[in-house]
């Protein structure tokens, strides 16, 4: 697809960021998608550490049955903030950051469609991050109603103040929503309109497909959450009664608004990770992605199905039997396109020539834990079983296998894989492998015990529990502390390698993809001349060129 507006946009709307090779650009309102991508990644990783410290405090409380480390109110604030920070300040922004960095490079564009909107969306992240953190300082402490903020608990305002933790929480979530919608508009437009000549839909890398599918979810889902949040804010501040049963409101209605977005949100999170798996396995197995087109289309099928499964979070809520049955069926259907992807990755790896570099190790570990989470996910979709484990630690175990086992592991895989491209330096394999081993052991030690606990009937969100649950809780807590430690070799590796790592060539992994045809790191404009794409994205095992003009993509400079 040739596209006149590409040139037009490049000329008119892309201000050249100043000081292109200076660290100061990372603290500026830069419009370079690569700078913004790294800004997102570094900021969100900071909040990942904050959320992780809260998690370790939670596990510190739970290492003994009694509520003896924290005041119960503080414990409740801890898990509320842990969930909120991990979702809105780590998972979403880190994936947006990675997508920001990669999508324009992968489709052969010079930047995102709306570079200033892109920068504005990023700078909202520190803003609502500060608002959320500030809620620790208001009288009464931060929100204690959980990241799901179900009324009536979220409407109880014991301090009586207008500015309270809950109000700040809603404000932060709302700004996060606006930022995400701005990002989504940008991604969908960029992918639809900014592809390089010859980059047809079925020549796009699967990562781009998954970002596209994920950002469409943001567009249709976030308005529901935002509407729910606005009504909640009105109930809380000016005394409307949308959700307050004491005044004729319906608390279950909020749950529908909330999950109509917040369930699809997990696909916003997991889809780009599927994309990362789809990029990494072919590179390190030296084989094409098995069934590329089917894998690409499955992403869109998942997007469609993700919009009609939300009630599976409400099987034990005020829902009638027939509704539970319908949503059980739709939920289980999601496993079909997901299964297609898993089998495709296994078939990609099978018979390949594997190289177990750090990215490959993380991707393999992430895949195995995702399959485990998929199995428990199908179990949870089954209403009679879910009735027993709903709101128990079984659910916590399941989604942490998804969100840490698959998403964080996948994210690490991506960070190592594209680190040379982003920084122009090679990372240390030794530290990377140490990081992998610690993460793998820590994740399983931390989250596996939650499954037996849930089956035994330990509710989630509790500050204290019956002594019969002590054993598995001690194991989980030790795992959590190990997981906290596991970030140290990663941080050391990233900072150390960025400062004094070996210089990276254009394509250290012999990977196929437009981003690997330009220098590491790419120049401000990415491509001097737009690539003319002539092949499908995973040509491993044959030596056809990917683009017609590989030598004219960049100005000849101090080339390697």
């Amino acid at each position: 697809m040739t596209n006149l507006s590409v040139d037009a946009i490049a000329q008119v709307e892309q201000p050249l960021p100043g000081a292109p090779n200076n660290w100061k650009r990372f603290f500026s309102f830069s419009t370079d998608h690569k700078v913004i991508g790294i800004q997102y990644l570094v900021t969100s990783f900071f909040f990942f550490l904050v959320g992780g410290i809260l998690a370790m405090i939670i596990r510190g409380e739970l290492i003994t049955p009694e509520a003896d480390l924290l005041d119960r109110a503080v414990y409740n604030a801890m898990f509320t903030m842990h969930g909120t920070i991990m979702l809105f300040l780590w998972t979403f922004p880190s994936l947006v950051g990675l997508s920001n960095y990669l999508v324009p490079l992968m489709i052969g564009a010079k930047d995102m469609a709306f570079p200033r909107l892109n920068a504005a969306a990023f700078w909202m992240v520190p803003v609502f991050g500060v608002i959320l953190m500030a809620s620790f300082l208001v009288p009464g402490g931060p929100s204690q109603s959980g990241w799901w903020a179900y009324p009536p608990v979220s409407l109880q305002n014991p301090t009586g103040n207008l500015i309270n933790g809950q109000v700040l929480w809603i404000l932060a979530v709302a700004i996060s929503g606006v930022s995400s919608i701005m990002g989504a508009v940008n991604f969908v437009t960029t992918i639809a309109r900014m592809r390089a000549p010859g980059m047809t839909w079925f020549r796009m890398p699967v990562f781009v497909w998954t970002v596209f599918a994920a950002q469409i979810i943001q567009l249709f889902g976030l308005p529901a959450l935002t509407a729910g949040a606005v009504m909640l804010l009105l109930d809380l501040t000016v005394g409307t009664s949308f959700f307050d049963p004491a005044r004729g409101g319906d608390p279950v209605l909020f749950q529908h608004f909330f999950w109509f977005y917040s369930h699809p949100a997990v696909y916003v999170i997991i889809l780009p990770i599927f994309g990362i798996f789809s990029e990494i396995f072919p590179v390190y197995a030296r084989k094409p992605l098995f069934g590329y087109k089917v894998v690409a289309i499955s992403s869109l099928i998942i997007t469609g199905l993700s919009g009609i499964v939300w009630v599976h979070h409400m099987f034990a809520s005020g829902t009638p039997g027939w509704m539970r049955m319908v949503f059980m069926a739709t939920t289980m259907l999601i496993s079909v396109p997901t299964g297609i992807k898993v089998f495709a990755w296994v078939a990609t790896i099978w018979g390949g020539k594997l190289r177990l570099n750090t990215p490959m190790l993380f991707a393999l570990g992430g895949l195995v834990m995702f399959v485990f989470a998929g199995v428990t996910g199908i179990m949870l979709a089954s209403v009679p079983f879910d009735i027993h484990v709903n709101n128990t630690y079984f659910v916590v175990g399941h989604f942490h296998y998804v969100i840490y086992g698959a998403v964080v592991m996948g994210m690490y895989a991506a960070l190592y894989h594209w680190f040379p491209k982003m920084t122009g330096r090679m990372y240390s394999e030794g530290l990377g492998k140490l990081h992998f081993v610690l993460t793998l052991i820590g994740t399983n030690l931390n989250f596996f015990p939650m499954h037996p606990l849930g089956l035994q009937g330990m509710p989630r969100r509790v500050a204290s529990y019956d002594p019969e649950f002590a054993f598995w809780n001690v194991v989980a807590s030790l795992g959590a502390f190990l997981l906290g430690m596991s970030t140290l070799p990663f941080i050391l590796n990233m900072i150390g390698s960025w400062v004094q790592g070996e210089a990276a060539p254009k394509n250290p992994w012999r990977a196929i993809g437009l981003e690997w045809l330009v220098s590491s790191p790419p120049t401000v404009e990415n491509f001097e001349e737009l690539p003319i794409v002539v092949a499908e994205p995973y040509g491993y095992g044959k030596s056809d060129p990917l683009v017609a003009n590989p030598d004219r993509l960049e100005v000849v400079h101090e080339s390697h």
């Binding site: 109110a73 604030a77 009464g140 109880q156 030296r286 069934g291 034990a316 297609i340 018979g351 095992g541």
Partner: protein, 311 residues
């Protein structure tokens, strides 16, 4: 993949049979991961879970086994920089691995539907809606024979509030903070909440239902095993959520009648309440002083549970 030798098919067959045995064994183990089966519903749920564990084990080990084989035996040599074979896909294989999960999913959904229908925890489902589920599409579905066609014999009102459980029995009209139930009789609870969402959850019964303020939800099950079990609030209800627990006592119908009769003679007393007690304790060493919702006064009932069962 298209031309598989007899040897390969044989090997795959043996591996699959081995996996199937391991999976069935895991399915049997699954029963031991639960609390005691104290209700008829628990028997059904455990059966379903055992089936899901067996199926899940097969899939998990199948995928992980294949990956493990690749990782162990298909690594590139140190100086081997060649690519693997250029295989873009295989239509037959892709159809198979789309169709099999699809069929499995319908099977699981139909089986789950059947179990849920038998449990009838919200009373019999309105079967007019049945056509909307995938269940009817399968020959597996016989009109489910309800396990418990007996009408609910014991009707008890359950009141949840921040953070106490209170139970009202109709005949004789008594109250308690510990739930007593007759064994092997269909129980119908009317679930009331006076403030926020709560959840009625007895792990030994495998049943759970959120309690919604402003609604009364009729909830049914059948205890089948005498004993003392835990009842926990399962839907987050604020500061003392974790402390909102009490005991369920399942006893023979005779013992239950005896308990009702004796309790009816007891004057109401103030029950011990964990949340109220903690809140009133002046010397909480880890308190931050954040203003929180005040716990309701302890229930005044004919039969208070001992503070031992509410530590």
């Amino acid at each position: 993949m298209s031309s598989m030798s007899k040897q390969t098919i044989l090997t795959l067959g043996i591996v699959a049979i081995g996996l199937a045995f391991i999976s069935l064994w895991m399915g049997q183990q699954a029963y031991s991961w639960f609390p005691p089966q104290a209700s008829a519903e628990a028997v059904l749920v455990d059966q379903l879970f055992s089936f899901l564990v067996a199926l899940g084990t097969f899939i998990f080990l199948g995928v992980v086994g294949t990956l493990t084989y690749s990782v162990l035996f298909q690594q590139a040599g140190k100086y081997d920089f060649s690519d693997g074979p250029h295989i873009e896909g295989n239509v037959t294989l892709e159809i198979v691995w789309t169709a099999i999960p699809f069929v499995l999913v319908i099977w699981i959904a139909a089986y789950s539907y059947q179990i849920y229908d038998q449990m009838s925890i919200l009373g019999p489902m309105e079967h007019v809606h049945r056509g909307m589920t995938t269940a009817e599409a399968t020959p597996l579905m016989k009109p489910a024979a309800p396990l418990f066609d007996q009408k609910p014999v014991e009707h008890i009102d359950v009141y949840a509030r921040q953070w106490a459980w209170e139970f009202h029995y109709p005949q004789p009209a008594i109250t308690s903070t510990e739930l007593h139930l007759p064994n092997r009789q269909r129980i119908q609870l009317a679930l009331h909440s006076e403030d926020v969402l709560h959840g009625f959850f007895v792990p030994a019964f495998r049943v759970k239902q959120d309690i919604i303020p402003g609604q009364v939800i009729e909830f049914e099950f059948t205890p089948i095993r005498e004993g003392r079990y835990r009842l926990r609030d399962s839907q987050y209800s604020g500061t003392y959520f974790a402390a909102m627990q009490t005991d369920v006592v399942v006893e023979s119908p005779e013992a239950y009648q005896q308990w009702l009769t004796t309790t009816a003679t007891q004057p109401p007393v103030i029950a011990y309440n964990r949340a109220f007690d903690e809140y009133q304790r002046a010397h909480n060493p880890i308190s931050t002083g954040w203003k929180i919702v005040e716990p309701a006064s302890p229930p005044i009932v004919n039969y208070p549970s001992s503070s031992v069962s509410n530590p």
